[in-house]
């Protein structure tokens, strides 16, 4: 069992934890957190696989770097939707 494989297997475990959270938890903020955990798991598998060969593969590195920024942006977008939903659900308290 190599180090890269270990990281890959734990990445899959993280993906599973996140997937369970997305499916099982009703609270939207926690759901967003779960999606993030899912994403981190995918990134880990990607990076671990990139280093499993003789020479490290830099294309997955670049893709994960891109993916992290897009994941942050997507999370912020989702959170702003949550804020909006929350504001619409109790309009009388805001006024």
């Amino acid at each position: 069992m190599t180090q890269a494989l270990l990281y890959g297997v734990f990445g899959i475990a993280l993906f599973g934890i996140g997937l369970f959270g997305v499916l099982a938890i009703a609270h939207v903020v926690k759901k967003i957190l779960a999606i993030n955990i899912c994403g981190v798991g995918v990134f880990m598998v990607f990076i671990a696989n990139a280093s499993s060969g003789a020479a490290p593969d830099f294309v997955p590195h670049a893709m994960v770097l891109t993916g992290i920024v897009v994941a942050v942006a997507g999370t912020a977008m989702a959170l702003s939707l949550v804020v909006r939903i929350n504001a619409l659900e109790k309009p009388e308290e805001d006024a």
């Binding site: 475990a13 993906f15 997937l19 609270h27 003789a54 294309v59 590195h61 770097l65 942006a73």
Partner: protein, 253 residues
């Protein structure tokens, strides 16, 4: 603000799943992960064509760091679209206000709560962060680093500045809008400009590739930092520091 959001708010309409369903979902997820892990164990990377492709073309990319070469030369469409995604999210999250467009980008005022430790710390830290960010950007050509790392660091400086409470950012200002679009604009400009010399969009001429990549990266760093700070600002219901709107409302009452 998410600390103040009661956890029952969203849960009251859609309650958590019953225990037996949770058990089934859990078992399915565990089974799927086990299957994935097994296929990962059995996966044998026989040959990696991309490794040799990147290594053999690195000299033409204009940079020495293979990750930067992939990001901004070999697969620059990815990065172009990523900067576009950042701009779209910024547009979606941004609190638009036509009245604020003529106000300055950075507003300085007296904070409600002063944190002496944070203020004193920031005086030392902020210049260091800016310099380090510039170093990361520059060193990205040869070593790990580049636009994303530099932009994230710079955004951290901006958020620390917000937390200190003396400054607040108005992203409707013209200067802020320019900061938000400069990355994508520069990327498109360079990408379209190289058509004149090479005939293909985003295919930089070898002699100028290093310079063009640096120009794009500087612009992308600024945009990434601005967008990340905007995301932080936009997700605050209770703004830090002075709250002019609230004060005005109270005056009217």
């Amino acid at each position: 603000m998410f600390n103040n959001m009661t956890l029952s708010d969203s849960a009251k309409q859609e309650a958590d799943l019953p225990g037996c369903v949770l058990l089934i979902v859990g078992m399915v997820v565990v089974a799927a992960c086990f299957f994935l892990a097994m296929s990962l164990v059995q996966f044998q990377p026989t040959d990696q064509p991309l490794v040799t492709l990147v290594a053999s073309n690195l000299e033409q990319s204009g940079v020495e760091n293979p990750v930067t070469a992939v990001l901004l030369n070999f697969r620059s469409y990815d990065t172009l679209l990523e900067v576009a995604v950042l701009l779209i999210v910024a547009l979606a999250v941004m609190p638009f206000s036509l009245q604020d467009t003529r106000l300055p980008f950075i507003k300085v005022s007296e904070p409600i709560e002063r944190s002496l430790v944070l203020e004193a710390f920031l005086r030392w830290l902020l210049p260091a962060i800016v310099v380090t960010s510039g170093y990361l950007l520059w060193t990205g050509a040869a070593l790990p680093g580049g636009a994303f790392q530099a932009g994230a660091l710079l955004a951290g400086a901006g958020i620390l500045l917000l937390l200190a409470g003396h400054h607040s950012f108005n992203f409707n200002a013209l200067a802020a809008r320019l900061l938000l679009v400069v990355g994508l604009a520069m990327f498109l400009l360079v990408g379209a400009g190289v058509v004149l010399s090479s005939g293909i969009a985003l295919a930089y001429p070898v002699a100028m590739a290093g310079t063009l990549i640096l120009v794009i990266e500087v612009a992308a760093t600024i945009t990434i930092a601005a967008v990340l700070v905007l995301l932080f600002c936009a997700l605050q219901i209770e703004p830090l520091g002075p709250q002019p709107n609230r004060v005005e409302k109270e005056k009217h009452l």
